[in-house]
Symmetry: C2
Subunit: 213 residues, 2 copies
Amino acid sequence: MGKSNRIPKATITRLSIYYRQLELLEFDGYRMVSSEKLAWLCQVNPAQVRKDLGYFGEFGVRGVGYDVIDLQAQIKKILAVNREWNFAIVGIGNLGSALLEHQNFPARGFNCVAAFDNDPLKIGKPTAAGLSIRDIEELEEAVKELNIEIGFITTPATAAQSVADRFIMANVNAIVNFSPTRIIVPDCCLVENIDFTVKLDTLTYELHHELGI
Amino acid sequence: MGKSNRIPKATITRLSIYYRQLELLEFDGYRMVSSEKLAWLCQVNPAQVRKDLGYFGEFGVRGVGYDVIDLQAQIKKILAVNREWNFAIVGIGNLGSALLEHQNFPARGFNCVAAFDNDPLKIGKPTAAGLSIRDIEELEEAVKELNIEIGFITTPATAAQSVADRFIMANVNAIVNFSPTRIIVPDCCLVENIDFTVKLDTLTYELHHELGI
DNA sequence: CATTGTGAACTCATTCACAGCG
DNA sequence: CGCTGTGAATGAGTTCACAATG
């Protein structure tokens, strides 16, 4: 049974990746999959797949492999994505607007229920998804009213910390930070950073140092 | 002097983060910074900062700290962002369009020089940034013509692998993959994945298992 | 004398190798 | 017999602790 040892964060990330590949396998008509095949699709070691799953239970059949549909259900439960989640976006520029309309979110049970900005020219404007852009000052009340559980920050770097502070004040303790800076939050708050330029920098480092470009 | 031991990938990521904070420190008028202060701003251990920098040289002054301006220049050189880079985007949906207009890229020397799609309704349309959307069939010739060094994939998951294959065929061996799937590439090709839904999944996992939501 | 630079200790993650089992 | 599940071995990355030094 699921041992509650300390589980590596990388394991959680991989579970999500396994899930994506299981969806594709199901679509392609597979009913069972071995750790070897799943590992290859995700570009990891087969033992890694088995160990990752082993943290949470025994989901396979020895000599056969894993049931493609059942394993999806198990991973959804582990990741707590067997339910819907409400999020809000603060900073409705190019990126914020794109995320508002991003189809992958609702498809996976993540619903954007509010959009905020501090620009008077934007406040009140309708979004393509049918929301109206609200004043950031309304954040606290909207959180209660709409049950917002996750906050997206898509502002410039200079505004990110103050938006994070507002989210925390409003009792939103899970933040996805798309701004190119690090925000500082109390221990009770979870943050995932998605910083495009950091990813580009690592790519150029490798281009230069590994491929000699 | 810079030892060419194996350098952890996490070190490279952190160098990029240090650089962001150094920019802000310079803006705030700081001339010197200690590893302790920089570490706090980046939410890491001070010894980590010193060790990361130590892989590449001795940039500090004992008893004093690091020169804010000089250290930026050193990190830029290490990350190979002391020059400009050309990239192209394939898949001009919401996200692709937002990235086309994303101000952070040109501000850091990353220039989007071409946009591609396979949708006849989009091909030929002008983008806000002044480019015209091109047919994906033109990728190879555009790569030569425009010196495209990095490829962004912002297509749906189902198209990601075939776009990756095209990039590689066209000799673009650095890819930023924004699609919610893993692409498989030869060793000569570098890939950075930016998968929003994986980040959301890790957040919901932690919300559920650590905060009990 | 405050702070860097770094070998050594430690912690965490991955991979191996094989026992266990359908 | 083949593939999972897992303890043990290995490897990688982080933190400590202190000598070196401007």
